[in-house]
Symmetry: C2
Subunit: 347 residues, 2 copies
DNA sequence: TCGTGAATTGGAAGCGCTTCCAACAAAGGC
DNA sequence: GCCTTTGTTGGAAGCGCTTCCAATTCACGA
């Protein structure tokens, strides 16, 4: 039982065509009769054949190098889960598909940030770049990168990034809707929303979803107060008092990410308010933070690892597949409300 | 400027030897004169040559597959930073070195857990396995895996795992010592320690370091109270009251990981105790948790990503390098006390 | 001096794949 | 009906490396 893995030649032999033809089928190449294509795919299935990414990349030429670009400053967020999870997913994808990955943190404040991106293409020879927010909405940058022949995938693009290049993300509006819907089911009628920084589109869409759920339930602006934080625990701490002291007396506090929700929770505890009996609090993203607060946070799961992996897959299909010049595509991954301990019936 | 990367043939040409000989030098092979070896290395440096991992793995044969084994149950910790960081590092290493990685979570409670590990070797054809705690101290398992011809690296082995196979980790004893030392410098004399589950060797060593620092400062058992948690936020919450109410009235609380420290912090806030003015609290590991509590946690940085990467490098050197049959080696990475906001002068 | 074995080096095949180019077949154009 | 065009398929080279095996060199004892 040597159990050698089948090679492309095995597939060729079984389906009675040349190796070249199999390769063509595998890479979505043109000029293959449907009948032949089907026969080859059949053989692939029968043998459970998987291409050897090492061999493919050796033969294929090109740098096979992708870049993952973050806007954050590593100094200030050395161990962020958001970055880790996205990179983890991207790396998994690269390993599967035979690509290399370089990860670059380019702070928004860098004067030469655009140049740093172009260097990734010119010097490092990246064939594709993955942009995270807010780069993923920088239309000028994306257009220029594309013009230089480098493929692009935007992570969670909100507006501008959407039509320019491929994208992956979740449906933020639906996520906001779902969590609000759940709270409404639990009887809540007075809401507070803690948003993110101005211009962070995907967070804004979470609010849109919340509003839609409210209006469906016959509620309106008068039943919601909102503030903007900056996604940090700290800002959650600072903004929560304003919400608690508002004459509206909200019974549910929806936060645009987990960190702010954790901050809110700590303030709420300090005031002797019981969660979830007196107040429901929800987060967004389902990072490990949601497990280390008490009670554990009810939140919306954002599939970061899958997003990283899908981003690589999209880039790969642009680079070798038949999608080289296809229309930009948005890959919307499933989210889910994760019920833990911070949301309950309205008091 | 085509800037094609130099190949092994370029090196061979420049150093005036055959390609074969270069390969031999690169792989620490035997039977190369020192003079020739030096000449080749010189050429490598001159050309800034880097082996192409894809080509190497293609030619080298073998599965080039490594396995990363966790003991945790994915259901209960779907998004742990510990796992993500370790896997992230391992993936980076794999990409550099041309290996593939499979990650497997095998709960300790599984009746057939050993069988699942052996399947990784027999069915998946892993050539090397990375064991995380507590598998990294399971001498029987490690010995059997080695007997089957599969290489092993233990992450943070405490005792049994240490001499059997290669290992990577940090010096937990020194980490415990350093943080305690810092607190002593700040004038603290009465300590509390929140440890981990029985048998988790690396956490126990953190306590050893703490004790050493205490005794160096002329303090002893009477100046320390300790409890055992299970590394969760929850256990931090539950155990802290016992510590605060102890007649010793500790002024510094050292926790064996960040999650428990976060739990402690939340209880402490609730009681109106000021951190760090009234009480200093420290964590361990420097996970993202340390940034989302308030004040941000002073902790000891554990280089998880580097550990993952080094584990892969060790495996690679066993598999292709000259270390095939060498004595087990322990790769001890640097830790560092990260001063944030929860440690200050004793009241 | 010659033979022998060990140490050292080189030649060449081939890992699994892509891709260039040639070959061939079918389909139109005159 | 013949030539060109277009579509489809196969042959073969070669990506950068490892490794088997043969060739060469060297040291040493007979």
């Amino acid at each position: 039982m040597t159990a050698r893995r089948p090679t492309i030649d095995d597939v060729a032999r079984l389906s009675g065509v040349a190796r070249t033809t199999v390769s063509r089928v595998l890479n979505d190449g043109p000029n293959v009769r449907d009948e032949v294509r089907a026969r080859v795919m059949e053989a692939v299935r029968a043998l459970d054949y998987k291409v050897n990414p090492q061999a493919r990349s050796l033969a294929g030429g090109g740098s096979r190098l992708l870049g993952l670009v973050f806007a954050s400053d590593l100094e200030s967020e050395p161990n962020s889960f958001y970055h880790s999870a996205l990179e983890l997913g991207a790396l998994r994808g690269c390993l599967e598909l035979g690509y290399q990955l370089v990860t670059r943190h380019i702070p928004l404040q860098s004067a030469d940030r655009e140049q740093q991106v172009y260097d990734l293409i010119a010097t490092q020879r990246c064939e594709g770049l993955i942009f995270t927010p807010p780069y993923s909405d920088d239309a000028g940058l994306i257009a220029e990168v594309l013009r230089r022949g480098c493929k692009v995938v935007s992570i969670s693009p909100g507006g501008a990034g959407r039509g320019l290049a491929d994208g992956v993300g979740m449906d933020d509006e639906a996520g906001g809707y779902d969590i609000a819907r759940r709270l409404i089911e639990l009887g809540h009628r007075r809401f507070a929303f803690m948003g993110g920084i101005e211009g962070h589109l995907s967070a804004d869409r979470r609010l849109d979803g919340l509003m839609r759920a409210l209006s469906e339930a016959g509620l309106g602006d008068a039943d919601l107060i909102q503030v903007r934080g900056d996604f940090t625990f700290r800002s959650g701490v600072e903004l929560t008092p304003r919400l608690l002291d508002d004459p509206l007396h909200p019974t549910a506090l929806v936060c645009a990410n987990d960190d702010m929700a954790a901050g809110a929770l700590s303030v709420v505890h300090g005031r002797g308010v019981k969660v979830p009996q007196d107040l429901s609090v929800t987060g967004f993203d389902d990072t490990p933070v949601s497990a280390i607060v008490w009670p554990p946070l009810t939140t919306v799961h954002q599939p970061l690892k899958d997003m990283g992996r899908r981003a690589v897959a999209l880039l790969a299909s642009r680079l070798t597949g038949g999608r080289a010049e296809a229309e930009p595509e948005f890959d919307c991954l499933d989210h889910a409300v994760v019920e833990r301990g911070t949301a309950a019936s309205a008091p």
